[in-house]
C-alpha cells in the first residue's frame, strides 16, 4: 500500500453506537412511555453530556465577560472563547482562527455576507446566482439585497431527481457577483458538487458562498479543498448548543468588509463623531457574545473529532441506504431526492394521500420524532408538487432498529388511513 493512501476508515460498529448513545441523556427519555426515536437531527441535533457539562462548568466555575476583565476568571473565559474558535478553525481547515466569526447561527452568517459584503460590492444590474434548493435563510437575504440594489437574481434549476441542473451553469454565472448555494439540501439530502460549483463561480468572477449547515455536521469539510470564499453553519445541528454558529470567510475579503452590527467590542478608537473598527473577527462580533455557547461548540467539535467525521459520514450513509432500501420497497411511499450516491442521510417522503402533519402525528404517538412541513423550502416544495413532506434524518446516535421503528410507524399510518 502506498504511504500516501490512507486506509479506508471503518464506519461505527453497533458497540460504538451503543457507547455514543450513553453520552446523550435525552435518548433515555420515554415520550408517551415509549423509547425516544429521534430522527430530526437535520433540524437540530441532540447534545452529548460533554457539551452540556462544558457549558455548565463555565457558568459554575469561570463565568465572566471576555476581553474586558484583567482578573483570573475573565482570562479563563477569554481563553475558552478563543480556544473554541481555534478548534472550529482546525475542524473546517481554516488557515486562521481569525477567519471564523461567531454568529448566532448560519442564518445570521449568511445575512452578514449579504449585508456587509453585498452592500459594498453589489450594485444596479448586477447578478446574484442562487439555486432552487436553497433554505429560506440563503434566499431571503439575497432577495432583500437584490431589491435594495436593483440587482437580479438567477437560479440554478433542480432536476426532477433532485439534483442541480448544471447544464447552463456557466451562462447563469456570466457576469455574476455572487454564487450562493447549499452544500447539502436540507430537504432532499442532495450532496452538491461544491468544489465544481466554486470553481465555476470563480471562473465567472463571482465569489462563492456556501451554506454548510447540513454538511459540517455530517461529513468532513475543508474550506481549503472547497476553495470557497464564505461558509456558514450552525452549532446546534452538530451536537453544539443553540444560539451560536460560524461564518468562515477568506481573510482578505473579511479585512475589506464594513461591520454588520456595531457597538462595543468591535472598535479600535471611538470619538463622538467617528470610530475606527477592529480587525476581523472582532469587527463582526459587537457586544457581549454567546460565551457559554462558544465553549459548548468547542466541546461539540472535540466530540465529533474524537469519533471521526469520516466514520460518522459512513455510518450515516449506511443508515440512509438501509432506510431507502426499505422505503422504496414499501407500497404507497414516495421518496424525494436523488439516488444514494448523490445524497446523505436526510430523507423526504410522502405516504399515499396522508398529509405530512398527520403522518408526523401518528409517528409521534410511537415516540418517533420527524419533521413535517415545507422545511423552509417553499419554492422547492412547489417544484416537487407537494405542499409538505415528512423528513427523517439520521445521525451518529441512530440505529438500524430505529429505522425499523420508522417503517413500523409508516405501516401503522397506512393502516389507519386504509392505504394498501
Amino acid at each position: 500500500m502506498s504511504l500516501l493512501t490512507a486506509p479506508p476508515q471503518p464506519s461505527l460498529s453497533a458497540a460504538d453506537v451503543a457507547r455514543i448513545r450513553e453520552d446523550f441523556p435525552i435518548l433515555a427519555e420515554r415520550p408517551h412511555g415509549l423509547p425516544l426515536v429521534f430522527l430530526d437531527s437535520a433540524a437540530s441535533s441532540q447534545k452529548p453530556v460533554q457539551v452540556i457539562d462544558s457549558m455548565d462548568d463555565y457558568y459554575r466555575r469561570y463565568h465572566a465577560n471576555i476581553h474586558r476583565g484583567v482578573y483570573h476568571i475573565s482570562e479563563l473565559a477569554t481563553e475558552a472563547y478563543d480556544d473554541a474558535r481555534a478548534k472550529v478553525a482546525a475542524f473546517i481547515g481554516a488557515p486562521s482562527a481569525d477567519e471564523c466569526i461567531y454568529v448566532r447561527n448560519a442564518t445570521e452568517g449568511l445575512n452578514l455576507v449579504a449585508y456587509s459584503w453585498g452592500r459594498q460590492h453589489v450594485g444596479p444590474g448586477d447578478t446574484i446566482v442562487l439555486t432552487e434548493m436553497e433554505h429560506h435563510s440563503n434566499l431571503v437575504p439575497w432577495q432583500i439585497l437584490a431589491k435594495e440594489r436593483q440587482a437580479r437574481l438567477r437560479f440554478v434549476r433542480v432536476t426532477p431527481e433532485g439534483l442541480l441542473d448544471l447544464d447552463d451553469l456557466d451562462s447563469l454565472l456570466e457576469g455574476a457577483k455572487v454564487f450562493a448555494f447549499t452544500a447539502v439540501s436540507n430537504t432532499l439530502g442532495t450532496v452538491n458538487p461544491v468544489e465544481h460549483l466554486v470553481e465555476r463561480a470563480h471562473a465567472a468572477g463571482a465569489i462563492a458562498v456556501v451554506d454548510a449547515c447540513q454538511a459540517v455536521p455530517r461529513m468532513p469539510v475543508d474550506v481549503r479543498r472547497w476553495k470557497c470564499d464564505f461558509m456558514a453553519f450552525s452549532a446546534h445541528k452538530m451536537l453544539g448548543p443553540t444560539g451560536i454558529g460560524i461564518l468562515w470567510g477568506r481573510s482578505d475579503l473579511l479585512q475589506g468588509m464594513p461591520p454588520f452590527n456595531s457597538g462595543g467590542g468591535m472598535i479600535n478608537v471611538v470619538h463622538l463623531e467617528s470610530s475606527t473598527y477592529a480587525s476581523p473577527p472582532a469587527r463582526f462580533e459587537a457586544g457581549t457574545p454567546a460565551i457559554a455557547e462558544a465553549v459548548g461548540l468547542g466541546a461539540a467539535v472535540d466530540y465529533l473529532q474524537a469519533v471521526g467525521m469520516e466514520r460518522i459520514h459512513r455510518y450515516e450513509m449506511e443508515l440512509a441506504a438501509g432506510a431507502l432500501a426499505q422505503l422504496t420497497q414499501e407500497s404507497g411511499v414516495t421518496v424525494y431526492g436523488p439516488h444514494m450516491a448523490a445524497r446523505t442521510g436526510v430523507i423526504s417522503l410522502t405516504v399515499g394521500d396522508i398529509h405530512a402533519h398527520d403522518l408526523a402525528t401518528i409517528l409521534d404517538s410511537a415516540g418517533i420524532c420527524v419533521r413535517a412541513g415545507h422545511h423552509c423550502n417553499q419554492p422547492l416544495m412547489e417544484k416537487l408538487g407537494v405542499p409538505a413532506t415528512t423528513r427523517a434524518s439520521f445521525y451518529l446516535y441512530n440505529t438500524p432498529s430505529e429505522v425499523d421503528a420508522l417503517m413500523a410507524g409508516i405501516r401503522r399510518a397506512k393502516a389507519l388511513f386504509k392505504i394498501s
Binding site: H357, T361, P387
Partner: protein, 137 residues
C-alpha cells in the same frame, strides 16, 4: 391515534362536504397556517340574514380539512347571529376528538377563515383577530 383518525374524519378528509367555490359570494376569505401550509378558502351566500350556501376549498392535513368540512355543514342554513356565536368549543365538539395543542390551529383554521370572511363583509372596522380562541397567530 385510532381515536384521532376515526373513519368519519377520514371520510370528511377524502370526501369534503360543500367542496368548491361560489360565484360572486357575499362573503369570502382565504387564509393559511404558515407553519403547516394548511390552506382554506371559504365562500358564503347570505340571504335574509341566513347562510343559504357555503363552499370551501383547501389543502392540508386531515384534521384541518375534516374540521372545515364539518364546519360548513354546521353553518349552512343558520342565521348569521348564530354563526357569529360559533366558537372553538362547538367546532371541537363537531370534530369530536381530542386535539393536541400542536394541532389545535389545524382544527380551528376553518373557523378562523369563516370568522374573517364575515368580519370583512360585515365588520370592516374590526381589527383582524388572531385565532378564535385568542391564541396569537
Amino acid at each position: 391515534m385510532d381515536e384521532l383518525y376515526r373513519d368519519f374524519i377520514l371520510d370528511h378528509y377524502r370526501s369534503p362536504r360543500n367542496s368548491g367555490t361560489l360565484e360572486n359570494p357575499d362573503a369570502t376569505f382565504e387564509d393559511d397556517n404558515p407553519l403547516c401550509g394548511d390552506r382554506i378558502r371559504m365562500d358564503l351566500r347570505i340571504q335574509d340574514g341566513v347562510v343559504s350556501d357555503v363552499r370551501f376549498k383547501g389543502r392540508g392535513c386531515a384534521i384541518s380539512q375534516a374540521s372545515a368540512s364539518l364546519l360548513t355543514e354546521a353553518v349552512k342554513g343558520r342565521a348569521l347571529s348564530e354563526v357569529a356565536a360559533i366558537g372553538k368549543d362547538e367546532v371541537l365538539g363537531n370534530v369530536g376528538i381530542s386535539i393536541s395543542p400542536a394541532r389545535l390551529k389545524c382544527a380551528l383554521l376553518g373557523l378562523k377563515v369563516l370568522k374573517q370572511a364575515l368580519a370583512v363583509k360585515y365588520e370592516p372596522s374590526t381589527e383582524e383577530k388572531a385565532y378564535p380562541d385568542g391564541t396569537p397567530s
